[in-house]
């Protein structure tokens, strides 16, 4: 292991670059945009140069415990994806923000700061480092989300920050405990500590708490409330960053916990699996009901995160046989990033022209725009899991890992009902993915609508290039699964201490194709018989409108979290605090009323009139007034007597 300066460079260079860019941008906007693109390009190169190295770097005593970076395998892959996504979106931002945006300088500054922080998370070798950058990233990315400052945006961004900060503090509690129990936060050493622990109970508690912040960032149900709104309101390049990378930092934490720390731990895996299944289904259902393009994509992200969590859970459950689950979760993680990159930037193109995201308003926008249609199609087919696109590969692996465990259970003669249900739900969620993506595609690219009026050039050539490349990656990964996908999995596997699959997976064999076909058929049924019948209304002129049929009452944020955390708990807390805090004040008030009552400035104890008899003689010898001066005088006399007593 050599001390590799590249690691701190990758983390701190973008941060410095951001500040330089800010300074540049005060005078020359063009130069700043170019500069930002150049910074991201350099970072991308730097990340690629990590390939094949066992890079390691530490800064002792920084922030107390010191920072530790490591840049091998999976971390390198994540860094490259991060840098690539940043590079593309930065190029795209140039055009996206060109019109009608204030505070662009601020956006570029925080965009680059976020890049550094994100790389800090992905390259961290211990949870302390992860946490430090995790918190930095929360705050810098918040600025990206709140960018356009409309009422909706401020509210959504506030929710994002609240969930992230709260989650972060719970994670901190978990880290306190982990460090207390194990004496280290280094991921590799924690694995050993947990593996050899006799009593795992306290590790479960500590690990569970640590998970909360990461789950909040990955937006696992029930901490998902911020995601659909935050993605919707953020500027499209920022949404792309959020969807492709920032939520993945949460998943990185989940992976580190379930793949490394709780290594082959079935109980832990089961917990992750259950959360994964719920997130996967809920996200898909929300997406089916949404009528806002970016919101559909956001809920779709939610659902895909659920898929990845299912893989992370299966890793623990399968134990030594987890090769397929490991590959599946890594690849879905990676594939989803590329898919969402293309789709969110595509959504950005539509928004930049129409200033609308509602399906009814943008209907028909892409009808005669073959390039945009192609780009969207690549992403959509990828996420649907259609064979020959990248999503299919990873979904197949995830599906196979569940099937594998069902086989294992059957061989052992145990009941596999639960996992059969998981399999069915998995395929069903895949079906819903097909349904909502079809809805999206049909609305924007097939149906006629008012937005068809936008003719002519709708994006410049730089944007077109990055969008095309992002879309092409989705296809390429799907056509060449063994060359590209298997290689990525092989590089990354070490992070999870996993072995290679026992035999090469034949992605296009009939067994594997079956899963995809079931999902696609389910999707077609849902689209034709649910979406078209219940969520769309036929107008008089034969066109359809999309309806938002999601009941307002079913809003976790507005009906539960906000009332509880903003009204009920503060009320109770303040009640307790005020009553505890005013005990002494209360006593003083009582004393003032009953003993030291200042009627005519005289001390009159209520029940013993004789005690204060002399004071009835008003106007007589009153050498000095009652009050502070007198008290101080007596106090002074008291102190003097005490002193004399001690001295003599």
């Amino acid at each position: 292991m050599d001390m590799n300066l590249m690691l701190p460079f990758l983390v701190f260079f973008p941060m410095v670059g951001g500040i330089v860019g800010y300074w540049l941008g005060r005078n020359n906007k063009k130069a700043r945009n170019l500069f930002a693109s150049a910074v991201t390009a350099i970072v991308l190169l730097g990340c690629i140069m990590l390939y094949g190295k066992e890079a390691y770097f530490m800064i002792p005593n920084f922030c107390g415990l010191g920072l530790q970076f490591s840049g091998n395998g999976f971390r390198m892959v994540l860094a490259v994806i991060t840098a690539l996504v940043w590079f593309f979106t930065t190029i795209f931002s140039d055009e996206y923000f060109a019109k009608n945006y204030r505070n662009r300088n601020r956006y570029y500054l925080f965009m680059l700061l976020t890049l550094g922080a994100t790389l800090g998370i992905f390259l961290s070798a211990d949870f302390y480092t992860t946490f430090v950058f995790f918190e930095i990233m929360t705050f810098t990315s918040f600025v990206l989300v709140i960018h356009d400052e409309s009422k909706d945006t401020i509210r959504a961004a506030g929710t994002y920050l609240a969930v992230a900060v709260t989650g972060g503090l719970v994670t901190l509690m978990g880290l306190f405990m982990l460090y207390r129990i194990a004496g280290t936060l280094q991921i590799d050493l924690l694995k050993e500590a947990v593996y050899h622990a006799e009593n795992k109970r306290e590790f479960y508690i500590a690990g569970g708490l640590t998970l909360v912040g990461f789950a909040a960032k990955a937006s696992v149900v029930p901490l998902h409330i911020w995601l659909p709104e935050a993605y919707r309101v953020a500027p499209a390049p920022a949404s792309a960053l959020l969807a492709c990378v920032l939520t993945k930092t949460g998943l990185y934490g989940v992976f580190a916990l379930s793949g490394a720390v709780f290594f082959h731990d079935a109980n832990w895996g089961m917990m992750i699996l259950i959360f994964g299944v719920i997130t996967m289904l809920l996200g898909a259902i929300l997406a089916v009901f949404s009528v806002d393009l970016k919101r559909i994509l956001a809920c779709s992200s939610l659902s895909q995160i659920g898929f990845i969590m299912v893989g992370a859970g299966m890793q623990g459950i399968l134990g030594h046989h987890n090769a397929l689950a490991v590959n599946g979760s890594i690849l879905h993680f990676v594939n989803h990033s590329f898919i969402k990159l293309a789709l969110f930037m595509g959504a950005g193109v539509i928004y930049m022209n129409t200033r609308e995201m509602n399906l009814n308003k943008i209907k028909g926008f892409g009808k005669d725009k073959p390039l945009l249609k192609g780009i969207f199609l690549m992403g959509i087919l990828g996420i649907m899991g259609v064979p020959l696109w990248n999503g299919y590969i990873s979904k197949t692996l995830l599906h196979e890992s569940i099937v594998e465990y069902i086989h294992i259970l059957q061989e052992a003669g145990k009941s596999a009902t639960f996992f059969r249900t998981v399999e069915v739900l998995f395929l069903f969620a895949g079906g819903l993915t097909v349904a909502y993506m079809t809805k999206l595609f049909v609305a924007v690219f097939v149906e006629d609508g008012e937005s068809a009026k936008y003719k002519g050039k709708y994006m410049n050539s730089a944007s077109a290039t990055v969008l095309t490349i992002s879309a092409a990656i989705c296809l390429l990964c799907g056509i060449l699964p063994h060359q590209i996908q298997d290689t990525i999995a092989e590089i990354s596997r070490g992070f999870f201490f996993a072995e290679a699959p026992e035999h090469v997976v034949h992605y296009f064999s009939w067994v594997n194709l079956q899963g995809a076909i079931i999902s696609i058929c389910t999707g077609a049924v849902v689209y034709l018989f649910f979406i078209r019948k219940c969520l769309m209304k036929k107008e008089a002129d034969g066109s359809y409108t999309y309806l938002n049929r999601w009941p307002n009452e079913l809003n976790l944020e507005n009906k539960v979290y906000r009332p509880v955390f903003l009204t009920i708990l503060p009320f109770l807390g303040a009640l307790v605090a005020r009553s505890v805090g005013s005990i002494v004040e209360g006593i003083i008030v009582l004393l003032k009323t009953y003993i030291f009552n200042n009627d005519d400035g005289k001390v009159i104890p209520p029940e013993d009139a004789y005690f204060s008899l002399y004071s009835h003689d008003a106007g007589a010898r009153s050498g000095f007034r009652e009050g502070l001066a007198k008290s101080l005088l007596f106090f002074g006399i008291g102190v003097t007597i005490a002193m004399l007593y001690m001295l003599l």
Binding site: V132, F139, S150, I154, L169, R180, P570, R578, G581, F635
Partner: protein, 492 residues
């Protein structure tokens, strides 16, 4: 440590006091301000010199065989003295500008300078009698700062402050009589000076004495139950005065608590007793109460004062753990809170000075008008919440490690850590919305009415230094750590 009888110890105490009197009679504002700053700067050099050399000792008045008024420079005293002097200088620079819109400026600077001398006396006290003497002086000499504006509100706040402080110090005085009997000496000796042969049999009495002393000294540190003066007195003072009252004077109480706990009673006697648990719970309750009431408060400076109540009790929580790691966390929190709270109060002062706005809901768009001030406010807020890499995170880390490592009262320790985090969340809840509103006023905000209101460099430079300190000390806390370990080596 060789102890010399050196009159140099008298200088840091007497010099600012005499200089303060002189300052009172200077007519020109400019001259006066520069003189104040020069005096404080000299004082820093002096204190730094004493701190580095160490070991000085000077008896001012030998009353009898056992009682004397003595100053001595030990590591703990030097630690506090250096911190106080530096903060004093920065807040002094700020006041030079701020006080331009107040009356009675010479009086303010007189007491401001004199207070520094008295504080040095508190830091360098070598025994309980001296500490008590300077402690009372500290109370009396800061009253003019509180009632500076001489409004009805300020005067009644000043009297409340005086009443609580004198009562608290009185409680502590009770302890002095007992300790004079039960200790071999009331000299501060790391590890405690209890005469165990005399203590045998009356342990419980002494625990009660300790408890009463803690409540008494805890008054100055804003601990329950005698905290109520703090949110009343701090906000009415001029902002630089509130800054040092909150950031520094409260630490006078902390120092007194450290001296009694670690240098008189000793950890061995107190650890694992009911007093420890009760005080831990009191500190926790204060932490929660302070931040909860801050969350509900609408007046910015009062909100900050409540925040002080809560944050200083973090320190007390760490001290009451009576373990080395808790002690490290506590002393770090002392420094980091002083920095952050001064930044916040001075920012609030800059806002009042430039715009006259005092309520949190008036601060919308402030970040566009006073970017430097609000950036400093933001950094200090993040530090107070404990967001890495700012310094508040580091102290919180050690406090929490101390809390979880508590051997006797494990449940209390864990609950304490949980409360630290709940309080951190509340801190985020009462500080971050201010930051957000000021930087993100919304798209319906009328930018045309905006004007640059950034104050001049006399105000911004101290703010920038403070907030840079809040970040850099957190990132590179190694040297601070070494100093604290050296101190804690004496007492454990």
């Amino acid at each position: 440590m060789t102890e010399t009888s050196d009159i140099i110890m008298l200088i840091p105490v007497l010099f600012p006091i005499l200089a303060g009197i002189w300052i009172r009679f200077i007519k020109s504002d400019k001259q006066r301000s520069s003189l104040v700053l020069a005096v404080i700067a000299l004082e820093i050099l002096l204190v730094a010199g004493i701190a580095i050399k160490g070991g000085y000792r000077f008896t001012i008045w030998q009353m009898n065989d056992t009682l004397s008024v003595t100053l001595a420079a030990d590591a703990l005293g030097a630690f506090f003295a250096c911190m106080i002097a530096v903060v004093w200088l920065l807040a002094g620079i700020f006041s030079a500008e701020y006080m331009k819109h107040e009356e009675n400026v010479p009086r303010f600077f007189m007491f401001y300078t004199m207070t520094l001398g008295v504080l040095m006396g508190v830091c360098f006290s070598a025994n309980l009698l001296t500490l008590y003497l300077f402690y009372e002086m500290m109370t009396l000499i800061t009253v003019p700062l509180v009632i500076h504006t001489q409004t009805k509100e300020a005067i009644s706040a000043g009297i409340k402050y005086l009443g609580y402080s004198v009562f608290g110090a009185g409680l502590a005085l009770i302890g002095f009589f007992f300790l004079n009997t039960y200790c071999t000496t009331t000299e501060f000796v790391g590890g405690g000076t209890l005469d165990m042969t005399m203590v045998a049999g009356s342990e419980n009495l002494l625990l009660w004495v300790y408890f009463i002393m803690m409540i008494g000294f805890g008054c100055k540190a804003g601990m329950l139950p005698l905290h109520a003066w703090l949110p009343t007195a701090h906000p009415v003072a001029p902002s630089p005065a509130s800054a040092v009252l909150s950031g520094i004077i409260t630490k006078g109480g902390v120092l007194a608590i450290i001296r009694t706990t670690y240098y008189l009673f000793g950890v061995d006697f107190l650890k694992g007793t009911w007093v420890q648990q009760v005080l831990l719970i009191l500190a926790m309750a204060t932490v929660f109460m302070g931040s909860m009431l801050a969350y509900k408060e609408k007046l910015l400076k009062k909100r900050l004062a409540y925040s002080t109540v809560s944050q200083v009790s973090y320190v007390l929580f760490g001290l009451m753990l009576m373990s080395p790691i808790g002690f490290v966390g506590a002393l770090m929190q002392v420094v980091f809170h002083a920095i952050a709270k001064n930044t916040l109060f001075l920012s609030a002062g800059a806002i009042i000075y430039k715009t006259g706005k005092t309520y949190v809901q008036q601060l919308k768009g402030m970040g566009k008008q006073m970017p430097i001030v609000m950036w400093c406010f933001t950094i200090a807020s993040l530090s107070l919440v404990g967001i890495p890499p700012t310094s508040g995170f580091v102290s919180k880390w050690y406090l929490a490690q101390g809390g979880l490592a508590e051997p006797t009262f494990a449940a209390t320790g864990i609950a304490g850590v949980a409360i630290l985090l709940i309080s951190a969340l509340l801190t985020a809840g009462y500080l971050l919305p201010i930051v957000l509103e000021s930087f993100f006023p919304g798209d319906d905000f009328d930018y045309s009415t905006l004007e640059k209101k950034e104050p001049n460099s006399l105000m911004t430079v101290p703010l920038i230094i403070f907030s840079a300190g809040a970040v850099i000390l957190g990132m590179f806390s190694g040297s601070l750590m070494n100093i604290i370990i050296e101190i804690s080596g004496v007492i454990f």
